[in-house]
């Protein structure tokens, strides 16, 4: 699913050159649940952005589902991302001016799905995420946990191959955090590949594999041997 070779990312401002990622070699298999850990500023989010095709590497190669991504234009990357990758953020990143239904619907709008089909799919996913009764509410009217469930619903609506979660539990209390973790685990067992950045060891341990980043480099990998790649899902 994900394969990188010597991926580096250098940020340049007028005077300073910052190396955010340095020669990162990473493989994530289909159906895997990977957690990325590390201190602030170690490059976790940069890595996630590159994996999510939001940002480009400065050097190295990145293959997403077999496609060499580093040579693609912005437009091609957008098209590849659309429907294939779902994002969940720490700060939920719901659009304030749209209600729950409209927020979840957005990826389908981007895909150009018909209105009737959109309605059906959104209602289904909202029921699945147990938030259907709140579909006419606006984000500010919801609790943090509810907001994150909406965000997850939005990430899932297109049945993406990969979900990238950037500290999905960071802004939630333990109870709501636990709910979101259970949701992610459930998705994973149903076949979705997940890459999650987290500060919580507790949550990281529930992944198949933990990758520790420090100063832009992968320093250790703890592998959970119980994981066996699952094929023929989502394909």
């Amino acid at each position: 699913m994900i394969h990188t070779e010597n991926l580096s990312r250098i940020f340049q401002t007028d005077l300073i050159e910052t190396t955010a990622l340095q020669l990162v070699n990473l493989d994530v298999k289909k159906g895997e649940f990977v957690a990325i850990m590390g201190p602030s500023g170690c490059g976790k989010s940069t890595l996630l952005n590159i994996l999510g095709l939001l940002d480009c590497s400065s050097s190295g190669q990145y293959f997403f589902d077999g496609t060499e991504v580093t040579v693609l234009s912005e437009k091609q990357r957008t098209l590849l991302r659309k429907g294939n990758i779902g994002f969940v953020f720490q700060s939920f990143n719901l659009i304030d001016d749209l209600n729950v239904f409209e927020n979840v619907e957005l990826p389908l709008v981007a895909l150009g799905t018909s209105r009737s089909k959109r309605k059906k799919m959104v209602n289904e996913i909202l029921e699945y995420m147990q938030i259907g009764h709140r579909k006419d509410h606006f984000p500010r009217q919801l609790s943090g946990g509810q907001q994150q469930r909406v965000a997850v619903a939005r990430a899932l609506i297109t049945s993406p191959k990969l979900i990238l979660a950037d500290e999905p539990t960071g802004n939630l209390d333990s109870q709501n955090g636990e709910q979101v973790m259970q949701m992610l685990e459930k998705l994973n067992t149903e076949g979705t590949t997940i890459v999650m950045v987290t500060h919580s060891m507790n949550h990281a341990e529930r992944a198949h594999r933990i990758i520790n980043l420090f100063d832009g480099k992968i320093i250790t990998e703890q592998v959970d041997r119980t994981f066996q790649p699952v094929y023929n899902l989502n394909s």
Partner: protein, 791 residues
């Protein structure tokens, strides 16, 4: 996508009504100004449009090649031209010969139903019955068939009939002319609309012309240029054909005069090939477009500024997989929706405002009773174009945000140094506002100047009346009686006074070639004309009762001397209307009848101290005694002319109502309206922009406050940014405004002064600083702790 955009718009509007309203209102005012301008121009172009045969009506005019290569045009033609040369031309369907009743340039004629209540009435005409076939008359009493076919009949306009007969039916009733002649009313027609170049108050049959005026043989006279002629061409007839056929019609009598047809569509805007109106309209269109641009700039500024509050939305949409094009469409849709809403608001606004504007400006300044749908189509198209044009940049800017940065809300606003688009736009905005203000001033000052400048004669303390009488005899007793009052300074009689269009004639002068002629204004004045109007004799002497031979002498103005190229004019001779005159004095140039038009050569000959049938009497009074003087004058004249009707007016009434003055006043009002609107639009724009600016700077304000900065320093930082842009805008606005001033038509322009530019700039500065102050004070009242923690 459309409903999505609409939803987002509506919700943003609810969330931030002030900013959204500023955005919307700026655009609305821009569109509204545009529509108002359209109505104004439409009103100017709609002159005479009420005529059914608008496209086929022509006025016969002629041009004369002048001595100094000038070409002069005139609509006063000879009757013989109409009666002989136009008759029988295959292109012409109808010809109407028309002549003023009395002299409409003066005060008019007294009409009365009972010899008691007399109405001084201008704009009466003798006319052929064919006027009814050429012009569109709507009869309310009687009909066109017999209206002007009998002698001593009269056809009244509805308003005049109502006035004279107190609203009762007029048909068959009798009307007294100057309490002498009696005419029978044979018809009443609806008044012509205000927007008519020919607006008769009443008509008399041309057949009675000789009987009433005593002028025999006018129909064969090729030298008396006091008639007007309108013709109706046949369908598809070519006016150029007629022009070619009549071009040399007058050559046996004056080889410099060439008649031609002028179409009705030009009679108001450009009757004599003087593009003055077109220049004014051009400037107005330019101003209207500027306001539209101004409001578009506002819009662009506000929308791009506002975009930064939508980083999250844009970031998420991009992350989710919206392509740039999809986002671009979304924002363009938003812009178009906003433009359409503004457009609808503007149309509604104008609907309610234009009657008010009309009332404010007097008359039908804006035309409202025309084909509304056409204007609406134009307006909607303009709104669409404006929406697209002013949406392109914000949509582009927004859709090209980097999603990662946008999500982190880390988008760097704009480079601190260097030319950012927003700075350019704000500068443009300032420039346009200053330009419009200065132009508004120019029109205001010019109009003021045309009325109040030193005319070169006493334009404030003279009462005058046109008296038509059968009385004969000397005027000396009248003069003596009047002069016995301390309030009266001087009295004179003449056939012309300033701001009454004088007649003219061709003149041949000593030193010119024997058959060389030029056009000169021709006036007949009494001994005391020069002193009554306080004119200056710069060389030679005035007419004097001590010189019995003065009836063969003449006075000239300075312009005439220049035209003839005379070095030593006193004693020179000239031939005019078949008589020879010797120059005895030069009158200093003064404004003869219009500040707007250049001075012409002017010739004055003497008339004796006796009453003539049609004379203007002028009385100069001591300053501050006008009311008393008027009483005295009316009393004395009443006893001297007991059988005649007259009405004394101050000469100011002529100056204020002179054509060029009224047109300038008209233009001034509309320009001032635009200037005020532009101030409104730019303050709204500034308000929004500064509101946004202070909001983004809230954190900075908080930190600064924590660090102990005062409001004054903050104010200075913010204000200096805008003041710098204002200074730059001056570089563009001032020369542009000066150029506009220079290109305005008119012979006598007031000297423009630097303070007008300074005041205009000052007003904009004040608007900017007030807005900044308001926002800064609001920003400062926020608790710094609140701002800083809001990360």
């Amino acid at each position: 996508m459309f409903t999505h955009s609409f939803n987002i718009l509506a919700r943003r509007f609810r969330k931030d009504p002030v900013f959204s309203l500023a955005t919307l209102l700026g655009l609305t005012l821009g569109f509204a100004s545009f529509i108002l301008l359209g109505q104004f121009i439409n009103a100017m172009l709609s002159y005479d449009r009420c005529q059914e045969h608008y496209d086929r009506i022509y006025r016969v005019q002629f041009f004369m090649n002048q001595q100094d290569n000038r070409v002069q045009h005139s609509a006063s033609v000879t009757a013989a031209l109409s009666r002989h040369d136009l008759v029988g031309l295959p292109e012409i369907e109808e010809i109407a010969l028309i002549h003023d009743v009395g002299d409409n340039n003066k005060n008019g004629i007294f009409l009365s139903a009972d010899k008691e209540r007399e109405f001084l009435t201008r704009w009466g005409f003798y006319a052929d019955p064919s006027v009814f076939s050429i012009f569109t008359f709507h009869f309310t009493e009687g009909g066109p068939e017999k209206a002007l076919s009998e002698p001593f009949t009269i056809v009244l306009s509805q308003s005049l009939a109502n006035k004279i007969f107190n609203g009762k039916p007029a048909l068959g009733k009798q009307i007294y002319f100057e309490n002498k002649l009696v005419c029978t009313v044979t018809g009443v027609y609806k008044d012509f609309p205000d927007k008519s170049t020919w607006e008769p108050a009443y008509l008399l049959p041309m057949e009675s012309f000789t009987a009433i005026t005593g002028w025999k043989g006018y129909e064969d006279n090729y030298r008396a240029y006091s008639f007007m002629t309108y013709v109706l061409l046949k369908k598809n007839a070519d006016p150029a054909q007629v022009d070619a056929k009549i071009h040399y019609a007058m050559k046996d009598y004056n080889e410099m005069h060439f008649p031609y047809l002028r179409p009705m569509s030009q009679l108001y805007l450009n009757p004599y090939f003087q593009p003055d109106f077109y220049i004014a309209i051009g400037l107005l269109i330019f101003n209207g477009l500027l306001i539209l641009i101004l409001s578009s700039i506002n819009y662009v500024n506000l929308q791009t500024a506002n975009a930064s509050t939508r980083f999250r939305e844009i970031g998420i949409k991009k992350t989710i997989g919206f392509t740039r094009r999809q986002l671009w469409y979304q924002f363009m849709a938003e812009n178009l929706i906003l433009a359409m809403i503004s457009c609808i608001m503007a149309i509604l606004l104008v609907r309610y405002v234009s009657p008010l504007v009309n009332r404010l400006m007097g008359g039908e300044t804006l035309s409202t009773d025309y084909n509304y749908s056409l204007l609406m189509v134009v307006v909607v198209i303009t709104a669409l174009i404006t929406g697209i044009l002013s949406g392109i940049y914000p949509a582009y800017a927004i859709s090209s945000f980097n999603p990662v940065k946008a999500l982190k809300q880390k988008l760097i606003e704009e480079k601190q140094n260097g030319l950012s688009l927003r700075k350019v736009l704000v500068t443009a905005q300032f420039s346009i506002a200053i330009f419009l203000l200065v132009v508004g001033f120019v029109f205001y000052r010019q109009t003021h100047y045309m009325v109040n400048r030193n005319m070169g004669f006493d334009s404030e303390h003279v009462l005058f009346a046109n008296i038509v009488t059968d009385k004969k005899g000397p005027t000396s007793t009248l003069r003596q009686n009047l002069m016995s009052h301390a309030e009266i300074v001087d009295v004179c009689h003449s056939d012309y006074i300033p701001f009454v269009l004088p007649g003219g004639a061709d003149v041949n002068w000593e030193g010119g070639f024997p058959d060389e002629k030029t056009f000169i204004r021709y006036s007949q004045i009494g001994y005391d004309f020069v002193s009554t109007f306080d004119l200056k004799i710069v060389e030679g002497r005035n007419f004097s009762r001590d010189y019995p031979g003065d009836f063969d002498k003449c006075l000239l103005n300075e312009t005439a001397i220049q035209t003839f190229g005379w070095k030593d004019p006193i004693g020179m001779k000239l031939d005019i209307r078949g008589r020879s005159f010797t120059v005895i004095g030069i009158i200093k140039d003064y404004i003869v009848f219009s500040v707007h038009n250049p001075l012409e050569p002017h010739f004055y000959r003497l008339i004796p101290d006796t009453i003539s049938s049609n004379t203007i009497f002028s009385v100069r009074f001591k300053p501050g005694t006008e009311r008393k003087a008027k009483e005295i004058v009316e009393r004395e004249f009443q006893s001297f002319f007991p059988d005649d009707a007259f009405e004394f007016k101050n000469i100011q009434s002529r100056i204020q109502n002179e054509n060029a003055v009224t047109e300038w006043r008209h233009l001034m009002k509309i320009n001032l309206l635009f200037a005020v609107l532009s101030i409104f639009v730019s303050s709204i724009g500034l308000f929004g922009l500064i509101l946004f600016y202070t909001r983004t700077k809230l954190k900075e304000v908080g930190i600064r406050k924590v660090l102990g900065f005062t409001g004054g320093q903050l104010y200075y930082t913010l204000a200096s940014t805008f003041v710098k842009l204002l200074v730059i805008s001056v570089v563009f606005a001032w020369p542009a405004a000066f150029y506009a001033y220079k290109s305005l038509p008119g012979a006598n322009k007031y000297p423009i002064q630097i303070w007008e530019f300074l005041i205009a700039t000052g007003i904009i500065l004040l608007v900017a600083l007030t807005t900044i102050s308001y926002q800064i004070i609001r920003a400062l009242r926020v608790n710094p702790a609140e701002i800083i923690k809001d990360e």
